[in-house]
């Protein structure tokens, strides 16, 4: 039963334009970066040896993962109740909640980050409030904390949307069933709702973490030299010192680390059951 709209053997050409674009715009430059990391300034693994022999590089490498990890954890904590609320309110309220997530998303990342500069700076809104309450002012701008705060806000939609998509499919009668079988509300949540929502948590966490690893603008503007992340370091190597080889090696190391992590996450997140069974 194959009709015009069902994908058949001859539909492959439909993906060709996108495939070509990816090949030209991503594949070729990436291949160049990899190539140069092994050939520039001279053939060999010199750039990689350089990277791993310099403590400052390793510190930045480690910091990149720590910051991305914190941002991921904060996004999960903030997005989980938010997404849950989206599934439990009426349609009008839901539209409002979706807009609250998406409107900042439509504003350029640079603009949002600059807004955080205003909020976080030493004489900014947050510090003035802290001082008005009689506390010492806190250094937020050009610190790791500031970077984490800004990135969490920028990346939050990537956590909320996958979570909401999964939670929307969870049959709430399952929670009722657990209650009727003798589970306190908290247990019904922990043993039934939470496990069923985990695919959304994993999905969102992977997206946020990977985007966080490669984040450039927010760390560059909110973080100082002491909060540099790998992408900033790579940019400095390439654009300021025209050191394509060392910058390329950093990019390749970040890419490989991400792929390894993805492979592990994929194995961990794979579930034996199919969502939606026993319900919708």
């Amino acid at each position: 039963m194959r009709d015009f709209f069902s994908p058949g053997r001859n539909s492959f050409w439909l993906v060709l334009p996108a495939l070509l674009l990816l090949l030209v715009a991503l594949g070729y430059p990436l291949a160049q970066v990899v190539l140069r990391s092994f050939t520039d300034p001279e053939p060999g693994v010199g750039n990689y040896v350089w990277f791993f022999s310099r403590p400052v590089n390793l510190a930045v490498f480690q910091r990149t993962f720590v910051v991305a990890g914190w941002v991921t954890v904060l996004c999960v904590v903030l997005a989980y109740p938010y997404a849950w609320l989206m599934t439990s309110v009426g349609p009008n309220m839901r539209v409002l909640l979706v807009l609250c997530v998406l409107v900042p998303f439509w504003v350029s990342g640079v603009v949002r980050t600059l807004a955080w500069v205003i909020l976080l700076q030493d004489s900014g809104v947050i510090n003035r409030m802290i001082m008005a309450m009689g506390f010492e002012k806190i250094r937020l701008i050009r610190t790791q904390t500031g970077v984490i705060i800004g990135m969490t806000q920028v990346l939050l939609p990537f956590m909320v949307m996958p979570l909401y998509a999964v939670m929307r499919g969870i049959d709430l009668r399952l929670v009722q069933a657990a209650r009727s079988l003798g589970a306190r509300p908290m247990l019904a949540f922990l043993q039934i709702y939470l496990p069923l929502s985990l695919p959304g948590v994993f999905g969102g966490a992977i997206i946020v973490f990977i985007l966080g690893l490669g984040f450039y603008i927010t760390p560059a503007l909110l973080g100082g030299p002491r909060a540099t992340m790998l992408s900033t370091l790579a940019q400095q190597q390439v654009l300021q010192q025209l050191n394509w080889g060392q910058g390329g090696a950093m990019g390749v190391i970040l890419l490989v680390a991400t792929l390894v992590l993805l492979a592990f996450a994929g194995r961990f997140a794979r579930r034996r059951y199919q969502m939606g069974a026993g319900g919708k």
Partner: protein, 373 residues
């Protein structure tokens, strides 16, 4: 499972009202379910039967009134402390647990020791004949198997009361009939009190000791299947349970009988009319169809009409007769040598005491199908 045999708990629903804003879902409902009884809540959608079930289970708070399970008032008791088994229409099996995991869940919550837990899970699986499927996930089972797992899960912790909300609603007819027999057998073997919600009157008649007919948030009548079929107390009940010919029109009192005019003929039934419009209700198997030339019999009611439809049922024939005032008569007869032809002028006849005189409550035919009017 002899050791789990016990008497179920009684359920006492006392003047329960549930309102949502200005909408009254349950209006002063009172009902008693005896221990071990199979009670069915029957009614069209939106009639309050599922709300009543949810109120008993503790999923819905009640606005006024009181509910007792056994001799305990459960008003302030949250759902997880009521010890009531619930079977949902869409099974509500936990998709991330195997069949065994689903069944063991309520036992783990009750801290039943592992060996005892295994024994009871096995016994419950045996009860629903799914022993071979213990390690499957719900998504690997058919609809009927999932429903049997749901049933086993609801009874594995030996609740004195089992609530079922249209448990067979999503299954096809053959499977439904077989599972009805299974549910009846399990009820007999357990001795637990069953409260069963359905909009399917055949299912209600097949399963129940007693049936409560719900309509617009109230109970119209409670009784056995034959009470409701033979002695409906309201026109709604008469129409909802089984098929019937309903005749309405001007009425007058004739001695101890009340006569109703249909077209320019009169038919009568014993009893005196109350206030308002009246209706006569006659069951299809009480009516005989005769040809126009048949001799008149003054002891019988008689109405003229034309055969509008003849439906072969295998065991007999069902005729729909269009009457003079446009209303529809339903007649069920054995097969005869000379069946009636479509459009043929006929007479419907029945004994006066076989018709039931009821106040016309305006209930519509749509209610019969379980659809909203």
């Amino acid at each position: 499972m002899a050791e789990t045999r016990h008497r179920g708990a009684a359920v006492d629903i006392r003047a329960v009202t549930k309102t949502y804003g200005s909408f009254t879902a349950l209006d002063d409902v009172s009902l008693r379910v005896e221990p071990g009884q199979f009670m069915t809540f029957l009614g069209p959608s939106g009639s309050g039967k599922t709300t009543t079930l949810n109120v008993i289970a503790g999923f819905t708070d009640l606005t006024r009134g009181e509910i007792l399970i056994g001799d305990r008032s459960v008003g302030g008791l949250p759902a997880h402390k009521r010890n009531v088994g619930v079977v949902f229409q869409h099974y509500a099996l936990f998709p991330h647990m195997t069949v065994t995991g689903n069944l063991a869940y309520p036992l783990k919550l009750r801290r039943v020791a592992a060996a005892e837990r295994d024994r009871r899970v096995a016994a419950a699986l045996d009860m629903v004949r799914l022993t071979d499927f213990a390690h499957r996930y719900p998504s690997e089972l058919s609809g009927g198997q999932q429903q049997r797992v749901a049933l086993a899960r609801a009874m594995v912790f030996d609740p004195p009361l089992l609530l079922m909300d249209e448990p067979l609603g999503a299954l096809d007819k053959k499977l439904r009939e077989w599972l009805q027999l299974e549910i009846k057998r399990i009820h007999r073997e357990l001795g637990t009190t069953f409260v069963y919600v359905t909009h399917d009157q055949e299912e209600a008649l097949a399963l129940s000791d007693r049936i409560a007919v719900f309509n617009k948030g109230r109970i119209e009548q409670v009784g056995s299947g034959s009470d409701l079929y033979d002695r409906p107390q309201t026109l709604f009940v008469g129409r909802f349970i089984g098929e019937s010919t309903v005749l309405t029109g001007a009425h007058e009192t004739r001695g101890q009988e009340t006569a109703i005019r249909v077209g320019d003929e009169w038919v009568a039934a014993p009893g005196l009319a109350g206030e308002g419009r009246q209706a006569l209700l006659v069951r299809p198997e009480k009516i005989t169809l005769v040809r126009e030339d048949a001799a008149a019999d003054p002891a019988l009611n008689q109405l003229s009409g034309r055969v509008g439809e003849a439906i072969y049922l295998g065991s007999g024939v069902k005729y729909e007769v269009t009457l003079a005032d446009g209303s529809r008569g339903v007649v069920r007869m054995a097969l005869t040598d000379r069946p009636f032809a479509l459009g043929e002028p006929v007479r419907m006849r029945w004994r006066k005491e076989d018709a039931r005189l009821l106040p016309d409550d305006g209930s519509s035919l749509a209610a019969q199908s379980g659809e909203e009017p």
